[in-house]
């Protein structure tokens, strides 16, 4: 009877789709009318997504179907829907450089920004909302930056007289070397994996701190000093860093004890045992303390569904409740001028203090990711990634690499013809000096 039983099972399996030949089951809750379909690149990790959905449900009166996808799918979905003139989303959310190449697919949001004028968006953030155009295309959603997480075990090797919250880059390097010597292996880490954000370190922290600029000073003598420093730091950094995309797991596993990374990618390490960890601002260099701002925004697709409800969601997200809860749950900071509550969980409170100290230091140099480059932003980022690979991993001479990459950077900038962005001095067309 065996073959019959097997066939019966197969037959039963085949019958199921025949009976349920519907177009598919709803996986994000967007089927109900009045739901705002929210396509975003943020909060893709499972737990972050679950927490954010809970926050959306508790804070907003409108039902939202949150749909986080990765970058490639995000771009393809928006582009193909725009080109086919059949848009199926209501609200789009992403980082500045996710939204910038797709600016043409978004409606103007000047009206909504006007309604939200009381929220207290900082001026430099408002300037970014035009995505390089003339009208505002997105409403600021949340912001983040990068700091350094320190396992308290590593403090024993801190150079004498150094304050861990006020380190210079030289002290940082000395610390890394002392830790390596004492522990027998390098214990400092950087996210240098394929999806790691390490190139933002070079763009927003290293180069501004050493040279005062990001692209205009790309091939100067100060830049050479910066990259020579980087090669030295790499020698004292865990080589497995080329596989790290997020630092929270290597930190939690004890593979590294000190790491620079995005605030949201560090918080997981300290969540279980916040007392073992210190969150500190990044070090300072000869020209100041460079730090980078990460901005996420909300956009309305042209021809999108449920427009009134989507606008309601945007207004709700700009409210104090959402802004604070997003920080509390997922470590992304508010963009509005809402005061932070005193009862933040340990790890988040530590990060908030570090972020505040970093932004408010007397010699802080605000650095932005490239503005107005559209899809070329990724290629500019590649220039910095290639510099790191050539100088640190392949040990090529710094001057030669800088000259080569400066050519590429100049070509990209000449193509784009955009004004310079912070920290470079204002100029109508940005170019490498």
């Amino acid at each position: 009877m065996r073959p019959v039983t097997r066939r019966a099972v197969l037959g039963g399996l085949l019958a199921t789709p025949l009976l349920a030949a519907c177009a598919g089951f709803d996986t994000s809750g967007a089927a109900a009318p009045g739901t705002v379909g929210f396509l975003s690149t943020q909060f893709t990790p499972v737990e972050e997504r679950q927490r954010f959905e809970k926050v959306l449900r508790s804070q907003l009166p409108v039902p939202v179907a949150y749909n986080p996808v990765e970058g490639g799918v995000f771009t393809t979905t928006i582009k193909s829907q725009a080109q086919a003139r059949n848009v199926r989303t209501a609200l789009i959310g992403g980082l500045y450089n996710d939204l910038a190449p797709l600016a043409d697919a978004f409606d103007d949001v000047g009206g909504i920004l006007g309604q939200l004028s009381g929220a207290g968006y900082p001026d430099e953030i408002l300037k970014l909302t035009t995505l390089g155009g003339s009208t505002p295309k997105f409403v600021p959603w949340m912001q983040a930056t990068y700091i350094v997480a320190v396992n308290k075990q590593a403090l024993q090797w801190l150079p004498a007289g150094a304050d861990v919250r006020e380190l210079t880059y030289d002290q940082y390097l000395a610390w890394a070397r002392a830790a390596q010597a004492a522990a027998g292996r390098p214990v400092f880490g950087i996210p240098a994996g394929p999806k790691g954000l390490f190139y933002r370190f070079t763009q927003g922290y290293l180069l501004p701190s050493f040279t005062g600029g990001q692209v205009t000073t790309f091939r100067g003598a100060d830049a050479e000093a910066a990259w020579t420093y980087m090669a030295d730091l790499w020698a004292a950094t865990a080589p497995a860093s080329t596989n790290y995309e997020y630092m929270q797991e290597p930190l939690a596993r004890g593979e590294v004890l000190v790491a620079w990374d995005h605030v949201a990618r560090l918080v997981g390490a300290a969540k279980d045992k916040p007392d073992d960890w210190l969150m500190v601002p990044a070090p300072r260099g000869p020209k100041g303390r460079g730090y980078m701002l990460v901005l996420a925004g909300l956009a309305l697709p042209k021809g999108g569904l449920e427009r009134p409800a989507a606008e309601q969601v945007i207004r709700g997200i700009a409210g104090a409740g959402m802004q604070v809860e997003t920080l509390r749950q997922n470590a992304f900071f508010p963009v509005t001028s809402v005061p932070l509550p005193p009862d933040l969980p340990g790890a988040i409170a530590g990060e908030a203090a570090a972020v505040k100290a970093q932004a408010e230091s007397r010699d802080a140099i605000l650095s932005l990711p490239p503005v107005g480059l559209g899809s070329r932003d990724a290629q500019v980022g590649q220039v910095f990634k290639d510099c790191f690979r050539a100088i640190c991993l392949n040990r090529r001479p710094v001057r030669q690499v800088l000259d080569e990459q400066a050519e590429r950077l100049s070509a990209l900038l000449a193509d784009a013809k955009v004004p310079c962005w912070s920290p470079d001095p204002a100029a109508p067309v940005c170019a490498v000096a």
């Binding site: 994996g193 497995a240 899809s375 990724a378 290629q379």
Partner: protein
């Protein structure tokens, strides 16, 4: 009545008028597949090819140029080709050996076959994940070494190309041999044991039986397995990416990088065309050299 033709030679002319059998002609049988594929892939394929050559001002070779001058291009070509040249023969030898082991009817053959076919069900992303967990610095392999008192080794160190290559090789061997195994086992079912037994009676050694009896009869299955496996081998990148990040570039990995990370569909399409051309060339070679003799 016309002589029944056993001629399935591809050079047979005038197919429709030479129908010696009643029943649908070959073209009618394959027509649905042709129509289906053409409808679904026709326009997108054209668009995809155009992507590689269409710039702001019409036809341009800038994307091809950009692709060739990229620092990762030739290493990616070399790595992909090397991987294929080393991996495919090893996989086939391994799969044929496994199929023959099964054919010798050991006890628990069913259990063995099931376990050996399991990697087929594992997606390449999951396979990359598993092998990463095994080979990473604080992974299972190093846990084993430390457990027996040996020092841990950095198997996935970015500067040890050989170690990276071997890691990708072993992971791919684990993941993809099942495909060949299943095809070979299915093909072996059609080879009656009588042939082998006759050869044995006539004094052929096991090795001779393999080379002279089994493999020739297995040729159609081997040809299909070779073509499919090679084409799929050109496409794999998930395992290499999971294990090595950007340290061991392969062609389709670069395609993804240019399309998704660098947001440059033109260069990505150019890379895709390189993969297409390489796959087609190898397929044509296989089809020509492994053409089965249609003598029955």
């Amino acid at each position: 009545m016309a002589a029944p033709t056993l001629d399935r030679d591809t050079e047979a002319p005038a197919r429709r008028t030479r129908r010696a059998r009643k029943g649908p002609s070959g073209l009618l049988l394959i027509a649905p597949s042709l129509v289906f594929m053409a409808l679904l892939f026709g326009w997108p394929m054209v668009q995809g090819v155009l992507l590689a050559f269409r710039g702001d001002q019409g036809f341009t070779l800038e994307f091809v140029q950009r692709m060739v001058t990229d620092a990762n291009f030739w290493p990616a070509v070399r790595n992909t080709l090397l991987l294929i040249v080393v991996l495919i023969p090893v996989q086939f030898a391994f799969a044929i050996a496994m199929a023959l082991l099964l054919r010798a009817k050991p006890r628990l053959a069913n259990v063995y076959f099931f376990v050996w076919a399991i990697p087929l069900a594992v997606s390449d992303l999951a396979a990359g994940l598993v092998w990463l967990a095994v080979l990473t610095d604080r992974g299972y392999l190093n846990s084993l070494l430390v457990g027996v008192g040996l020092p841990p080794v950095a198997w996935l160190a970015f500067d040890n190309w050989t170690s990276l290559f071997l890691a990708v090789l072993i992971a791919e061997l684990w993941r993809a041999t099942s495909l060949v195994l299943v095809i070979v086992v299915a093909g072996l079912q059609g080879i009656p044991r009588d042939y082998e037994e006759a050869a044995a009676v006539f004094g052929a050694s096991p090795w001779q039986r393999l080379w002279k009896v089994i493999l020739p009869l297995l040729r159609p299955s081997l040809q299909v397995a070779l073509i499919l496996r090679t084409i799929l081998a050109f496409q794999t990148f998930a395992v290499a990416r999971a294990l090595t990040g950007d340290n061991f570039p392969v062609l389709v990995g670069e395609t993804y990088r240019w399309y998704v990370t660098l947001q440059n569909p033109g260069v990505a399409a150019a890379l895709a065309l390189v993969v297409l051309v390489l796959s087609m060339v190898t397929s044509v070679v296989y089809l020509r050299t492994l053409r089965s003799e249609e003598v029955r």
